[in-house]
Structures are given as C-alpha cells and as structure tokens.
Symmetry: C3
C-alpha cells in the first residue's frame, strides 16, 4: 500500500464527518422506532442495521487509512479512539433497536424516548464538530456541550432504573421479564451516550495537545 | 533485565501459539461440560480453571518479554492487544464454566452448545494462525473466517436472548431466576466470541501496517 | 500552554497520591453507607458523590499535565492508564452507593460489606504506593498484595452471586426484583476491585520497563 507523504493528511476529516452524519440518521430512525407502535418497528430496526453497516465501512476506511498514512493530522491513537468510539455509538444504537423488536416490546416508557432525544442532540453536535477538526482548538463549546448532554443522559438513565427496579409502592406490580427486557434497552442507550462523551473527550485531548 | 537486540525478536510467536493452543483445550473442555449432566460438571470446570491459570502465565511471559525487548516484531500496542484479547477469550470461557456449576444449572438450551461449538471453531482457526504470524500478510483467510464466525455467534446469541426473554406465547412460563442464570452464561460466551474477533482484527491491522 | 522541560517531570506523583487518598475517603464512606440503615444512606451517598467530583478534577489535572508535559516520568500511556483506572475505581464506588439509595434497599447481605471491606484494604494499599512511584521498583509487594486482594474479592463476589441466584433449596424464595437490585450493586463493587487490579498491573508494567 502506497504511503502518502503530504505533510498533513487531511483525508481523515471527511471520513469522521461521514461517520457522524451516519449516526445522525441512525438516531432519527431510532427515535421513530421508539415512538412507533409494534408493526412499524421491524422495518425501522432494519434501516438502523443498514446505517450500522455503513458505519462499519467508514470505520474500516479510517483504520486502513490510518495504517497506511505516514503523516497523520494528530496522534494515531487519537484517530483510532475517535473512530472506534464513533463506531461504539452506532453499535449501541443498533443493539437498542434490535432488542426492542426482538423482545416484542409494546409501548415504551417515556424515559426511553427521552434517552433517544438526548442521543439525537449529541449526534447533531458531533456531526457539526467533525468537519471542524482541522481547527480543533475552536471546538471547546462542542465538547463542553456533549459532556453536559451526557450528564443529562445519566439523570434520565438513573430515573429509568429507579422506575423499573424500585417502582412506587402504589404502582401495579411489574412483570419481571418485561423489566429485564426494558432494562437491557435502557442500558444500551446509556452506553451510546457514554460513547458520545468518549468522542468528545478524545477531541478535547487532541485540542490540548495542539495548544 | 537484559535487552535483546536481535534485529527481529521472534520469541513472541511461540508464546502466542501456546496461548492459542491453550484456548483450544479450554474450548473442548467447555463443550464437554455443556454436553454433560450435572455430576460431571464441577470436575470439568476445575480443568477449565487450570487452563485459565496456564493462560495467565503465558500472558505474563508475553508482557514481561514485551517490556524487556528492544526490537519487537510488530507494534508494542499490537502485541499488548493480541496478548490481552487472547487472555479475555480464556477468562470468558472460564467464567462460563464456573457459572454453569455455581448456579447448579440443569440441561442447557441447545443454543448454548451451539455457542460453544462456534467458539471451538474460532479457537482452532486462531491456533492455526498464531504460528504463521511471521508471514502475517498470508493470514487474511484467517481473519475473514473469524469475523464470519463472530457473525454466526451473534445470530445464535440473539436467538437465545429472544428465546429466554421473549418465549413464544404457548411456551411454559419460564422460571425467572433460571432466565437470569442462563442469560449470564449466554452473555459471557458471547464475550468470548467478541474477544476472538478482537484477536483477528489486531492481526489484520498488523498485516495492513506491514503491507 | 507552556511546555515544562525539566528532565524529569515529578509533578505527577502528588496528583496520583491525591487521587488515591480520595479513593480511601470514598471507600470509608461506602463502608458506613453499607453498614447504616436506610435513613442515613442518602446523605452518605451524597458525600461519595462529592469525592467522585474531586476525583474527576484530579483526573482532569493529570490529563492536562500529561498533554502539556514534554518529558514524562514514565510512558504516556501508562500515566493515562493509571489515571483512568483510578478514575474507574471511584466511578464504580459512586455507582454502588447511588444504587443502594436509588433502589431503596434494606439491610444488605453480609457479603456486600465483605466486598467493601476488601475495597478499603485495596484503597489503603494504593494510597500507600502512589507516593513511592518514583522508586517504582520497590513497589512489588504492593502489586502482589493488590492482586491477592482481587482474588479475595472474586471469591466473595462468586459466593454472593451463588447466594443470590442459586440459594439453598430450604431458603425462603427470593423476591426477584430484589435479586436484580442486589446483583447490580454486587457487580459494580466487583468492577471497583478489578479497577484496583488494573492500577496495580499498570504499576508493575512500569517497574518492569524501568528494570
């Protein structure tokens, strides 16, 4: 594989941008799936699966480029961490969509829609930031924003866990298998929020090194 | 500790081979344990535990060698990732064997035997590949094979989760504690499959760098 | 950000020491919380949360220093791994405290107090070791001790899982939601023990490199 020797390998930025834009699509599909009734869900989950496949090929392009590029715009391990955390976001979203269908879940608790809505905002912020990686020092508002979104996601997640596992005394007794199914969906959505934060933290550490 | 300065430190290949062959033994023991009835299981789980101890010492040998070797055959972080993902495979297998015994599980769902059978094939492929690391560019069939095995494992895993958490309406009601026990075994076996994929992906990235 | 060019950047040691001492405080608070009855727990969980915030700022200081320091006392990735595994310890402790309160758990099984007691000893050993990082080759007793504590923690953890999921035939039937709540607390405490071991393994690998 030929080594590119341009002093500064810019080709990474469009790939990270594509990866992030793909996540925006997946987050919107996930929001539709969560809002929809049972019958429409399998088709929406299949579309989320497609975005995950697209994401996998972008990740693969980034890693091949990383391994064949002599001069990278920033530390190789930061490029690697950025690519794999973007990949983790999408994997978690796809798993959430899959589980909702697999477990034949009915109407979902409002908290799950709230989790997905936070993910949509994190996806939008990430997609807006990726094209600006070349001026990474200007991205501080982005990583601060995503960190606060992650705190918001934590609060929603925590409230959902309490709702599922420690419902108010006067609530109707929960069907335990349903609790198990919902808990898994809720946890994988929280993983997606954590992965968005890892992306943001990686961008911050790149900026600090360049400052 | 003396620094070895041979231009190319070959001593790593036999260690990775030993680690992989050890995993083959563990996978076969795990298959016996899953197929066997309760009474034979504790002895088989103890043997799996022994292979895990052997694996730990090989991992330790690799890391000591890594830290004391001046010229490594490929990137230090790739050697580290290879060693730790092989270690992760064995840890997951040992935990699966342990849980089956600890939870006094009876006859296991066929899907669990299917998971282990995929792990046996991944172990065989890995043990065949490790001695050829020196000609890593020839190992493409290996990493493609293991990636497809991981997809196979995912399908089995997904089907098992559906079977456990969303059984057909007409199925006898599952005992929830049993569901929890089986779910844990199923999940840790899936972790082993993922770790095999990490091994294969690491080998691929080594090959790409050398190409 | 100015680059410090002192041949040997010592400023990291006090930061690691502060991080470890902060963990000692959190472990003691967690022990009080586990021993206490319901009403006192929220206030104790809030204090654990405070220590986690303190820990986050120390971690942040370490990472900023890492990214702005030209000559580090040992490999950058070891400093990074040390900082993040100390952070993982505290995150797990905070989550455990939070869950006990969130799930309104009553008197806890003795095994949970035993888990926390092992964590207190690991915290003390770590806090004693961090100031001695400069003479890392003398820390072998520390990492051997923490590895044996991790084995002790594994045994307690394993016994607790068996107690929760496979209680003796003659035991009163467990309330499954309670099993789920306790299982989550038990698992996150085990994660804390694992993170202590990662800290110790990182210190060992630093020592091996320097030998």
């Amino acid at each position: 594989m030929a080594f590119r020797l341009t002093p500064h390998e810019r080709g990474f930025y469009p790939l990270f941008t594509r990866a992030a834009e793909n996540i925006v699509v997946a987050a919107d599909l996930l929001a539709d799936l969560v809002a929809s009734e049972g019958p429409d869900r399998p088709a929406l989950a299949a579309k989320v699966k497609d975005t995950e496949h697209d994401g996998d090929s972008v990740t693969h392009e980034i890693l091949v480029k990383l391994n064949s590029t002599f001069v990278t715009p920033f530390d190789r391990e930061d490029i690697y961490r950025l690519a794999s955390s973007l990949d983790d976001v999408l994997d978690a979203m796809e798993e959430a969509a899959d589980r909702v269908v697999l477990y034949r879940l009915g109407v979902l608790p409002a908290g799950i829609a709230a989790q997905v809505e936070v993910l949509q905002r994190a996806a939008a912020a990430t997609a807006e930031a990726m094209p600006k990686l070349e001026k990474v020092e200007q991205l501080q508002p982005y990583w601060i924003h995503v960190n606060s979104l992650e705190n918001e996601a934590d609060d929603v997640y925590r409230a959902l866990l309490g709702e599922l596992l420690a419902p108010p005394e006067d609530a109707p007794p929960a069907e335990v298998l349903t609790v198990l199914k919902l808990k898994e969906v809720v946890e994988v959505l929280e993983q997606a929020a954590d992965a968005f934060e890892t992306v943001a933290n990686t961008v911050e550490s790149i900026a600090v090194k360049e400052s």
